[in-house]
Amino acid sequence: MIRTEGLSKVYSDGTRALDDVSINIDNRFTAIIGRNGAGKTTLVRILSTQLEPSSGRAFIDDLDIIKNADRIRKKVVSIPQEASPIGILTPSEQVKLYLIARGMTSSESSLAAKKSLEDVGLSESLDKPTDMLSGGTKRKVFVAMALASNAEIVFLDEPTTGLDPISRLEVWAAVRKLDGRIILTTHYMEEAENLSKDVIMIDSGTILERGSVAELLNRFKDKVRIESLNVIGDAFKVGDIYIKYVNEKEAAEYINKGVTIRRISLDDLFVIRGVTVEH
């Protein structure tokens, strides 16, 4: 189990990135959602021992992230946000290098690298320099690293940011093949909905909501979202758009009134909490 107690982080420029965060994470897939600057990356970097907290404590399977960092590093893999492979190396070399750094022998790492790259669908690209590969393929190289490492916990920090929809689907498919517990940060709500049973919503360094996707969306039961560029009663205003939540039956009244009707998604949690949604 991952456990934090009053975890806070204030950077040297005074930015408070995390504020008294106390959570338990013990699901197979957990998504930490929030807009840019919400504190997602800071939380993941602290939990994966890349960054020290300013105060509070955190534990990975009862190991203290400060006192037992070396032991934790054997259990976790953390793929940083916008990480990119070393362009001159092939995917195979890149994964091997990483596995050797994790303590595998050269022959073990060769076998594991080949298998994991094939598992994520990169058998055609094993020996091409990674700077010749697409953005999605590069991300899959990192997923292959995590897969080959057999880590108990994998942190994926915004694994599909900047990818086209097809590449995103391919990365999701690769992520689903990972063993262990997956903690994923994202600002794409459909990513959280597709990959996670458990969602933690974070903004301005604090936890806003927590629960399964179904639980979090339950408050919108039988409702749909109506969007309009014109004022529609007591609606939320997000950017230039007015958003209102109405019952499905009530929605019929809005047809032919120039509105867009959408199904409810995790985006809507942000709307009702007054947090600007990113599309």
Binding site: Q50, L51, K74, S78, P80, L97, A101
Partner: protein, 232 residues
């Protein structure tokens, strides 16, 4: 890392090797012309020092690029290796880039009958210390810069200050002693002075042995701190 990043890079990007050779070879040529061949042995000895020092400093670019742009350093934090292993891996990659240049200078040194077994072994020791010291400086720089673009300018300045100004390519006795000690802030200075001494080109200055050792230890210690392995 030296194998993957060093040898593979040489095979796939020859420009790294040419870049590491170009300045020492140009200076060797100029010194040969200007001194009518009299100072060429200094230039050959200095060439060893300059190649290692400039490659060591150039690793700042990759260290910063790996940390800030590719996020490779963060990736390696959650492995079995520590900051010193990571630094040594990248450092040895850059030694690999230096090998063609070192071989070329070794051929020139043999041509001018510079080598004996003893002075060759001492030179290897000096160059190893210099590698660690200059690479450590590069990691300090890479840890301090906030953006990759800043590192290129700093390396250009430091390459001149730390490899061309020190007495790498000229007899160290040509400059006043206070200036020599001022320039000793660059590990290339004690390395060059010692190299000139062991090759009997200039008087041996034993003071430079502790200077090089202490500088290497100090720079490596600072680099471990500044490399931001686990950021605070």
């Amino acid at each position: 890392m030296a194998w993957f990043y060093g040898f593979k890079t040489i095979r796939r990007a020859y420009s790294y090797v040419i870049a590491s050779l170009i300045t020492p070879l140009t200076l060797l040529f100029l010194i040969y012309i200007i001194s009518d061949g009299r100072l060429v042995t200094y230039a050959i000895t200095g060439g060893f020092v300059a190649i290692i020092a400039s490659n060591g400093l150039a690793s700042a670019g990759d260290a910063a690029f790996f940390r800030l742009q590719l996020k490779i350093q963060d990736l390696f934090v959650t492995t079995n290796i520590g900051p010193l292993d990571y630094m040594l891996g990248l450092t040895f990659s850059f030694i690999v880039f230096s090998i063609p240049g070192l071989v070329l200078y070794a051929v020139l040194g043999a041509w001018y009958h510079l080598f004996s077994l003893t002075n060759s072994l001492i030179l290897i020791g000096i160059l190893l210390l210099l590698t660690f010291a200059t690479s450590a400086i590069s990691f300090i720089i890479a840890g301090l810069v906030g953006h990759v673009r800043n590192v290129w300018g700093i390396i250009s300045i430091l390459s001149v200050v730390m490899t061309v100004l020190p007495p790498t390519f000229y007899p160290y006795r040509l400059i006043p002693q206070y200036l020599l000690y001022l320039l000793a802030i660059s590990p290339a200075t004690p390395a060059a002075v010692l190299a000139q001494g062991v090759f009997n080109l200039s008087p041996f200055d034993p003071v430079m042995i502790p200077v090089l050792l202490i500088e290497t230890i100090a720079y490596v210690g600072l680099a471990i701190h500044f490399t931001r392995w686990r950021e605070k």
